[in-house]
Symmetry: D2
Subunit: 327 residues, 4 copies
Amino acid sequence: MTRLWDKGAPLDERVLHYTAGEDYALDERLVRHDVRASIAHAEMLHAQGLLTQGDFTAIRAGLSALAVADALDELALRERDTPLPGYTHLQQAMPSSVALWGGGFAAEIRDDAEGLRQVQRRVGKSPLGSAAGYGTPGLPLDRGATSARLGFDVTQEPVTAVQLSRGKAEAQLLFEIALLVQDLGRFAADVLLFYTQEFGFLELPDAFTTGSSIMPQKRNPDVFELIRGRSATALGCLTEALGIFAKLPSGYQRDLQLLKFPLFRSIDLALQTLDILPPAIDAMKFRPERIKLDPAIHAAEEANRLVVQEGIPFREAYRRVGAKLKG
Amino acid sequence: MTRLWDKGAPLDERVLHYTAGEDYALDERLVRHDVRASIAHAEMLHAQGLLTQGDFTAIRAGLSALAVADALDELALRERDTPLPGYTHLQQAMPSSVALWGGGFAAEIRDDAEGLRQVQRRVGKSPLGSAAGYGTPGLPLDRGATSARLGFDVTQEPVTAVQLSRGKAEAQLLFEIALLVQDLGRFAADVLLFYTQEFGFLELPDAFTTGSSIMPQKRNPDVFELIRGRSATALGCLTEALGIFAKLPSGYQRDLQLLKFPLFRSIDLALQTLDILPPAIDAMKFRPERIKLDPAIHAAEEANRLVVQEGIPFREAYRRVGAKLKG
Amino acid sequence: MTRLWDKGAPLDERVLHYTAGEDYALDERLVRHDVRASIAHAEMLHAQGLLTQGDFTAIRAGLSALAVADALDELALRERDTPLPGYTHLQQAMPSSVALWGGGFAAEIRDDAEGLRQVQRRVGKSPLGSAAGYGTPGLPLDRGATSARLGFDVTQEPVTAVQLSRGKAEAQLLFEIALLVQDLGRFAADVLLFYTQEFGFLELPDAFTTGSSIMPQKRNPDVFELIRGRSATALGCLTEALGIFAKLPSGYQRDLQLLKFPLFRSIDLALQTLDILPPAIDAMKFRPERIKLDPAIHAAEEANRLVVQEGIPFREAYRRVGAKLKG
Amino acid sequence: MTRLWDKGAPLDERVLHYTAGEDYALDERLVRHDVRASIAHAEMLHAQGLLTQGDFTAIRAGLSALAVADALDELALRERDTPLPGYTHLQQAMPSSVALWGGGFAAEIRDDAEGLRQVQRRVGKSPLGSAAGYGTPGLPLDRGATSARLGFDVTQEPVTAVQLSRGKAEAQLLFEIALLVQDLGRFAADVLLFYTQEFGFLELPDAFTTGSSIMPQKRNPDVFELIRGRSATALGCLTEALGIFAKLPSGYQRDLQLLKFPLFRSIDLALQTLDILPPAIDAMKFRPERIKLDPAIHAAEEANRLVVQEGIPFREAYRRVGAKLKG
């Protein structure tokens, strides 16, 4: 393909290779958005806005799929009678339940879904018609019409804001993915703890564990370990994206092209993780016979009761219950 | 002060020192919020929500102060007749102006202010009444009434979500501060470029530069260098905060206490930077006699005109203008 | 104090405050190094090299203090008869022992000490005599003599490398601290796991735990939680430092002054953590009666034995032991 | 291929896909090292050590290739008569030269090469024979012989240190790559500055620039922009790697498998950048007629001369030269 700016001068092949880099593969993902936008506004396509618009829809769809599945709610329902210790400092603290445990994570995942929806504010600004970042002097364009036709919320003004904003919507998406993946990672950390022989709170079917090539007796919960580890990847992608546009003088600069890689990588890992999670949750089976609550776990409840029944201050009730426990 | 849980056992002084750590200084900032909350709901104060609520108001106030100052708008007005080259790849690309340049940054700073407002969604959830994260069995509390009295938007449910969400509102605030500080840092990078002898686009009064202890002729734009450098601090604080709650099993853990430090540090640097910026912008004076636009900078405009006037495709207009420029 | 470059022009107070920022407190730490260097080479002191030189000695001393304490070796000796399961994927895998467990961490901490020693290569380059980064034309200075007198390993050449290298020694120190703190954090994560009621592998005296203000029965291992959390702080400081000098054009720039904050903060937290660790390790007491090894934990050993005794391939031995365990 | 631990139980395809993930492509790179190691020690290959060993050689070779090219030294030689202003705070400060400018970067790149060599200390520890991290009870293995045959420096002891050290050698390599890429990025930042029309210090041939699809007159220095942007990628990879093993309880965990991705990605980008740099440097041509030194740039030199010739203190010489420049 001839490049429009090609004036016949020999372009060093290494330059072409280095500057194209990972772009070919990444750009394939943009083609369908490109085609759609080209129909409305061929000359001044700005990949960035569209890119996020497109993938943004995908990740939101992925997320809502999880909310439709509602695997955690089903778990809470399925195990509605299973008690669980509530921990603080990893020590048994107060009585809790599988329903409360799963419900907490369900609430946070819904909070993340809401956070992802908020990214729309930055994604919905149309850069189209800003050309290289300084408008199209001499061309009678109607930027508003193009924005409306392509479903953007607003037209970004002034044109110089378009390039200055590059990376911000992407970074917000990566930030919200990082929160989501960290929430899932903490869920996985709990599962890994509950699955130890010492806790023994739950079991996983063979289909959801892998074996060891050295130790014939082992069943390993790899899926949950990888979910936990992914929070580091999400953080790495966010750090990379923020670092790319930090300190850049204004106006388009080629560095901004590098945003695509961490963006796509993080979206992919989030979608893959959301995909594996519902069947993984379905596969979990709690073992109520192994879940033993420390007899002292009701101490706070008992102190509360003393406060209500005897009308004494909490401080006094606390000391009384504490003394009784000591012996 | 006696600690409620103190049963007389000797507490290693080093333990007290290590666990208290930076908390004393940090907690002082929370006292006024603490007092206010204590009146409504003494026993179960959770510093975190209030903390962010309080500081959140401060940084939003700081930001709006900037929007009230509107220093960039004034700059655009003051220099409304000053042209400026528009750059891409740091090369002169299209005609632009000081008004368009400042306007782009003003738009992005307003976008950041909007981003900070969105944090309210996570800050506005009341944790009060969740106690250690598992509610207050035995105590007849009305969590909704407390939330309403203290001005929260909603009561966080279920109680197990409260500790799981620790760090998320803080991290979102730190993320939006990072975007804001990066925008300001890019503005500073432009100013530093324009202030070089080679560009010479603007001058700064002695009051806004510092001197050199070796070179008597120097006037250094330290303020803008420090603004640029602060983007690294904001990124460090965000990374630290996300790292603190990554992978933690659910339930309160003492690590979460460490969130206060990066939170306060980032808020402080953002407020200080917002404070120095308006006078710094007021001090800038452009030198139109030094701003020289490359004669070829109108090439794209000329090509556009050929398209409109002669009805030829842009590709053909581009080649024609390119050939004319070559000689 | 009058600044040398002060020519009487009014300096905006806000500028002075913003540019001085956190410097006063940080610079106090540099004074004694400053004095020492001033005697040898007064006019052209460059804080950076000396700073790291000084603090570097402190942290190395702190570290060797730990190696002199050798708390982990003592633990291994004290608990030399205590078995421990060896885990992979957090599942019991092979037989291990407290001695092997502590020995692994001791080896890694010594590896970190060695890593910190390697930083000397970058710290030992003398910047003195490079002045503002371009030497002292017209002054007959003997840079080598100054370097030798102050104990540097080499004189940094050419003079332009001095400012280019700013931040690299600091970042390497912060990187090695991050590895050290992460190792200590993983040790703490193990202790927190072993201290759960479900594992119950060890106990901690009251002097090394804190109580709860709600639950009278609780003893919380805060020290180990804070050690675990500190790995995030160390990562934040490293990210901040690297971000400060990323993308800067060459030559001294004021942004570099910001390196001091993450440097001192990370050194302080590492020294504090190293200080609390030996008594914390001394306080740990294993409970052999609670440490139960899964009977299947010897499966790999049994398969190995079949390989040696019967001369069958490991694959065959693995299948045979696996079948026996199944039923 | 049948997995050794496959006992016929159905493995959920999604589990296989999620846990294999990016591994297939990444593992291809390890095959040749795997084969070599298998000959010496088939059953207990641990990819990690070897991996780093192998790629480590590649990147060191890449680096030395640059030192053999010595493109910067040639530049310094080629442009040995070209003066250049020396900047501090991006302001002309003292007289310098292309030779001094290039020499500074050459010194730092050699410093990075030395830093990469230091990684050998951690890479050279043989994990072989540690099996799952707890040795091979029942098998009479000679770990030392295997280490020696494969060229490791030492055998890692005790066996429990092997899994604890996972990620540390990788992270040190990623850290040193980050320093290298940041140095190259700062070199690129200088080139981009010198290539602006306003500086106009150097020109690049058409073969090393790309054109614009909108503006026929533009020649864009994309290669140098991408080099500058790569520092963010290197930082992202380092952050990701450190995050992966942070807080993990001891013993092998599947999360560690995720280290391969940031490791390979960062090595690849460093090698590609080192590959494009020598021809890019060869292509640079300085334009001495455009390089104008500020007449006041000799002020420090003049003050120095007064000190030597008239025996007055520097403070007095500074004031005298300053006064002369003012009027």
